[in-house]
């Protein structure tokens, strides 16, 4: 049994309305030392697989097929055996 931790972020030049608003409100709360906030998704996917390679391949497939929107998002992931 493996666990994939998938980090999905907006592509670099894609607008992040949410991040901007959070940055502004942090500023309003007195955090004037936060030049940028980017907000993405964090997914934890349990996966039963024979071995690490199989798991890794499947996770990549899932991301490309369903979990990530390649038009505006990038992703990375880590795989741990559990």
């Amino acid at each position: 049994m493996f666990q994939a931790k998938i980090y999905v972020t907006l592509r670099k030049s894609v607008l992040d309305p949410q991040g901007n608003v959070v940055r502004k409100s942090l500023f309003a709360l007195g955090y004037d030392n936060v030049p940028e906030v980017r907000i993405g998704r964090y997914m934890v996917v349990d996966i039963e697989a024979a071995d690490r390679d199989a798991a890794e391949k499947q996770v990549r497939d899932m991301c490309d097929k369903l979990l990530v929107n390649p038009v505006i998002e990038d992703y990375t992931f880590e795989l741990v055996e559990v």
């Binding site: 592509r11 030049s13 607008l15 038009v71 505006i72």
Partner: protein, 741 residues
């Protein structure tokens, strides 16, 4: 820049267009200038292909305060008030990224409305996709609906109506047309003009990023792999920013500081600046170094062509800059002076002291080449029109067919869609989605505004001219059924590649049909939007001239809905049923055929039917009204039963095929109900005005019964439909949701 590189070609300009530019400027344009010309002369911005046809549409009428040419059309609704409305397509962006594509589509059309000073009161969405059995289609459908819901709900403008069609012809090119309706005091109307030499020009709203550079040119070519290659960074909508922009703009427009205002839509800063200057016959000078930006190292080219959303361009009275800034600051918005109005008619762009572009504003807006593209009758027409429908077998079981039709996604309840939209915010929605047209009240008056979008693309495919006329007629009919007088039209013309003579031919025919119908029904065209190149690998979408129409309900006590109201009421069919099966949903669903002749449309009859129904709704004789559209009379009756929660006993004389009688889609037909003791009076009036009608039966029980009698043929008659309304409803309501599971 090396001219040999022929950069203009990558930007979508032809060599002859480039030569034209050289003549206009009297010199070689630089890179920035080529980019500016390329987007302003793109199909999307210049209408270089469609203008000649559009010129033939009727655009004037007693109620029209603003026709085509501004950001939106305006119609008078009395009491010094007016309705501002417009429809726009976001087909290509939605095909690439359904959620953001649709969301930014909503954002764009909202800006077109509040740019004029109007408060948006409603959105409608007209959507077309491939068949739902395709997972990619389901993904697009869900994404688009979520995008419209995400943006519209957040900004707090109710989405009160629209349509959804599913057909293979839209599989590779979904259509996402969004209409917005706004309300305004006529004295507050603002235009997109940059007048008053020396007046400052201000950029307001979101910072500029590298979003959607060349989006306009992108929307002017086929969705090919190659195009996908040059795909710009997808624009992400920020409805929260837009909400602030909306409130701030309406507040600042109420002051007398604002001379002109325009949103930055396609071609962003470029189109807004040169259009405002061109309309006023002035010039603009802007220092691009002053434009607030989101990313580092942005070039003048990128700043001018960026399509970052939620931005506006303002021209204000000299000296009022600080007052204006104050108002925007209150809403936490950036508002920066970037230049001023000049008298020389030139769009002059600087970066600091350096001039980076100098172009006559009018050259960009008015001097784009017009193309009289060749036309040719499509080869397919003869084949589909002459298909021998009369040879098709009659159905065994009409109950089964009716249920199948009610479950067909094109006919089934669209609740799955509109329950995802906040259609109530604003407290104006008097007739909610689910009837023929939505009706919104005008607070503080007895008036209501009715609105709808309609177009049966299949009819337009089988007969472009009649199909487009039918779209206008059906839209008007839907308004009339709600008790509203149709006022005016906005249209969204979705077609394939206009460089193909056959596509161009259907385009011209559609405009002809639309124009004719608008003249007869006295609903002038106040503007719209053209979306061409909806074509992939040679497959073009059905010609789809979507009609958005608004109407006026003079007295909200007289608003009418489609559901039957009371046991015992008498049911009539106003209009005439002809033996027509061509292009019907029944043919497609039961025989898999999208063939035959489109239904005939007699505009004079249409008008008389509508006038009759409208005046008798006002007189109180008519208690419910529902037009026959997809699925024909049987489906219309079923919908009246479902929404009314009542059954009906119907008996008709069969003069031709039973399937044509029940499921054919003859035009100009409206199912109405009237109190039992008023039937005679109604008939007398019908005879007086010479409108054909059929007495169908009465509202009764909890089943829908349809019997036919057949003079001169015993045994051919009998009961064709007998179904509990509960069963009809369950089938109709749940269908789309089931397909999405």
């Amino acid at each position: 820049m090396t001219i040999e590189a022929k950069v203009w070609r990558e930007m979508g300009l032809t060599d002859s267009e480039y030569q034209r530019i050289v003549e206009i400027l009297g010199r070689q344009p630089n890179y920035v200038e080529i980019g500016i010309f390329a987007v302003m002369w793109s199909e999307h911005c210049s209408y270089k292909t469609s203008k000649p046809a559009l010129k033939t549409l009727p655009t004037e009428g007693p109620a029209i305060l603003q026709g085509p040419g501004e950001n939106a059309g305006i119609v008078d609704i009395g009491d010094g008030q007016a309705v501002v409305f417009k429809i726009e397509s976001h087909n290509h962006p939605s095909a690439i990224e359904p959620y953001q594509g649709a969301a930014t589509g909503v954002g764009g059309i909202l800006r077109d409305i509040f740019t004029m000073g109007a408060r948006p009161i409603a959105v409608l969405d007209s959507l077309r996709f491939g068949e739902l059995n395709d997972p990619r289609v389901r993904y697009l459908f869900d994404g688009v609906v979520a995008g419209i819901s995400g943006y519209g709900n957040c900004i707090g403008v109710p989405t009160v109506g629209g349509e959804v069609y599913f057909s293979d012809s839209y599989e590779d090119n979904c259509l996402v047309n969004v209409m917005c309706v706004g309300l305004i005091e006529q004295k507050d109307i603002k235009k997109g003009v940059a007048s008053g030499v020396g007046n400052p020009v201000m950029v307001v709203g979101a910072k500029t990023g590298r979003d959607g550079i060349h989006g306009a040119t992108f929307a002017s070519e086929e969705l090919s792999e190659a195009a996908a290659e040059r795909r710009p960074a997808v624009q992400v909508g920020d409805p929260f920013m837009e909400k602030l922009l909306l409130e701030a703009c309406l507040e600042v427009i109420k002051t007398d500081y604002v001379v002109g205002i325009q949103d930055m839509g396609a071609a962003g800063l470029t189109s807004s600046s040169c259009e405002m200057a061109s309309r006023a016959g002035t010039g603009l000078e802007m220092d691009l170094a002053l434009v607030p930006r989101r990313e580092e190292g942005m070039t003048p080219y990128e700043l001018m062509l960026s399509e970052s959303q939620e931005r506006m361009l303002l021209v204000v009275k000299k000296g009022s800059e600080d007052k204006v800034k104050e108002i925007f600051a209150k809403w936490d918005l950036d508002c920066v002076v970037v230049g001023q109005v000049t008298e020389d008619g030139i769009l002059r762009l600087k970066e600091g002291e350096a001039v980076v572009a100098e172009i006559p504003a009018k050259a960009l807006t008015d001097e784009a080449p017009l193309y009289q593209r060749p036309t040719e009758v499509p080869a397919y027409l003869a084949e589909v029109q002459n298909y021998p429908l009369e040879q098709l077998n009659l159905p065994e079981d009409y109950n089964e067919i009716l249920l199948k039709l009610l479950a067909s996604p094109n006919i089934a309840s669209k609740e799955y869609v509109y329950r995802q939209y906040d259609h109530m915010v604003g407290l104006n929605t008097v007739v909610l989605p689910g009837s023929d047209a939505a009706v919104l009240r005008v607070k503080g008056t007895k008036k209501g505004i009715a609105m709808t979008t309609d177009c049966n693309g299949r009819f337009c495919y089988l007969d472009p001219k009649t199909g487009a006329a039918i779209a206008v007629a059906e839209a008007a009919r839907n308004l009339v059924c709600s008790g509203a007088k149709p006022l005016a039209v906005t249209n969204c013309l979705n077609f394939g590649n206009p460089e193909k003579p056959e596509v161009m031919w259907t385009f011209w025919r559609c405009i002809e049909g639309m124009g004719e119908a608008c003249r007869v029904l006295e609903t002038p065209v106040t503007g719209g939007n053209v979306s061409l190149y909806n074509e992939t690998k040679g497959n073009a979408v059905f010609p789809t001239p979507t009609i958005g129409m608004v109407g006026l309900v003079e007295d909200l006590d007289k608003v009418c809905t489609q559901g039957f109201k009371e046991e015992g009421d008498t049911i009539f069919l106003i209009g005439e049923t002809l033996p027509e099966l061509g292009g019907s949903e029944y043919l497609k669903m039961h025989f898999g055929l999208e063939k035959g002749q489109a239904p005939k449309l007699d505009l004079d009859l249409e008008k008389r039917v509508q006038q009759f129904v409208l005046s008798e709704i006002k007189s109180g004789l008519i208690k419910s009204a529902h037009d026959c559209s997809e699925g024909g009379l049987a489906v219309a009756l079923a919908e009246c039963c479902i929404t009314g929660g009542l059954g009906a006993d119907i008996t008709m004389v069969r003069r031709f095929r039973g399937d044509a009688l029940l499921f054919g889609e003859s035009q100009s037909r409206i199912v109405i109900s009237t109190p039992p003791d008023k039937g005679v009076e109604l008939v007398k009036k019908l005879v007086d005005v010479g409108v054909p009608y059929t007495q169908l039966g009465q509202v009764a029980g909890s089943d829908l019964n349809i019997n036919v009698v057949n003079p001169g043929c015993s045994g051919c008659g009998g009961n064709l439909v007998n179904l509990p309304v509960a069963k009809l409803e369950e089938t109709w309501r749940g269908a789309i949701e089931c397909l999405m599971k």
